[in-house]
Amino acid sequence: MPTPRENFAPRIQVFAPHKASLPPLGPYLREFWRRRAFAIELSRFADKAEYLDSKLGKVWLVMNPLLLAMVYFLLVTVIRGSASKTSGLSTLAHILIELFTFYFASNCINGGALSITAGGRLILNQAFPRALLPLSSTISAFWQFLPTIPVYIFVVIIGKVFFPHTEIPGLGFNYLWAPFIILCVGMTGFGLALIFATMNVYFRDTNKLLSYMTRIWLYSSPVLWRPEILHGWQKIFLYVNPLGPTLSATSSVWISGKSPTLYELLGCLFWAIFAILIGGYFFVSRERDFAVRI
């Protein structure tokens, strides 16, 4: 009988029934972090597989929210009656940037929700922290979101040429907040994706429910309307919405040209952390069940 190799690094793992609902978090998070490359490459390869023979497909990713924003813009201006020329552009810009941001979150959630049930064989045949799959969807959603920013900037620059008196801000330090806000949107989206991914394992029609919810959520978020129309107690409406603070802060930064308010920042942070904690608990405490139920 040969003896174990010299450089044999003992890596003892114990698999036992999970009475405690959460696995030891330290090792889980370490393993999650160690394997982050898997989530990144999975999203890159999924993207590669999808657009292998259609470069046009990628253009569509940007065109789709852009056209949608145009439609919403027409609707809003028609409903509100004739807009003055200067406020017209800022309404359009507001809808654009908010819709792009909203779509980032909703793509995180929709993609993430399906990631476990679509992960079939991977889940059945490989052991890894399952939260990597929703993370991979979040990364994909981010890469879809990123090119919409230059589109926004392009539209605004063109707009400013034609309507120089618009209220939309030029270059300023307010934009330094944008990465932070985007990070919060991504974290909130990832946290919510964890919840819906878990639900989808138990109830396979969760994504249908999700598509209704997304629509209602869109109308109740400050995407088609400016957050400034809410006063006093009405602002609660903004803060109970997981995307409320982030979308409101987005509007502050991109449209009003200000730094976000303290409340907006706290709201962003609160929802980002809260969503990850709740989603993480919900997901990680159940993920060992996934292989049995897939």
Binding site: I12, V14, F15, L52, Q126, A291
Partner: protein, 269 residues
Amino acid sequence: MRSASKAELEMPEELAIRIEDLSIKYKINVDTKRTLKNAVMRASKGEKVRMRVVEAVKHLTLDVPHGSVLGIVGANGAGKSTLMRAIAGILPPTEGRITVNGKISTLLALGVGFNPALSGRDNIILGGLASGMTRNEIEEKTEEIADFAALPDGFIDMPVRTYSSGMYGRVAFSVAVNMTPDILLLDEALSAGDASFKEKSFNRMRELCAEARTIVIVSHALQTVNDLCDTAIWMNKGTMLAKGKPEAIVDQYLKFLDVGALPSAFEDM
């Protein structure tokens, strides 16, 4: 994924896998599809979900030392794949405990779920990352793995959907075997390869156990079990009926099946 607490670390050093009184149950929802709609409908009528419990593995105790090759034989539905998934840490035990010492690589039934639109080479990278290699490790090894798979005429850069099942199996096996696992779990992994690849993979597996690495093989090709393994167990309806020398176990198993030593069972399927 879970590391062990101090008390749990007490495993004899020579063991790669220790299974103690392991039971695994599947709960199967026999009713309708599992949807929110149905759940709400059921709740409103006050109905309960009807569950059937399948005990796929029952009270199994087994030690596997380092450097051994264990074969598992048994009829369809005996619980072999379930046991393998539990050792890999994919299915949690319902009762009992599994302790594993070493890096595990798996090649389990149904394959790894390669992305059919991507090339073999891309899938090698993805497969390596999925089984826990770092990006550098897999990049260093991609060429070696592709060479081992030895697909004809540049098929390695073609989409996997254009592969024959043997070519698919070759790539999957190469990934599993070339990530230098301490413990290699193979569930009917050799079935699609041709004679020359089988020879090559047998050699590779013998190399692995010469380095004191451990291999567990599930196969319906009984000759493979005879050739490769130094121990075998026979599983039936979730329990381990016998353990011993592969020839003896295979004999017993064939007698049980009442097919005798039919040549067909000995052909490498």
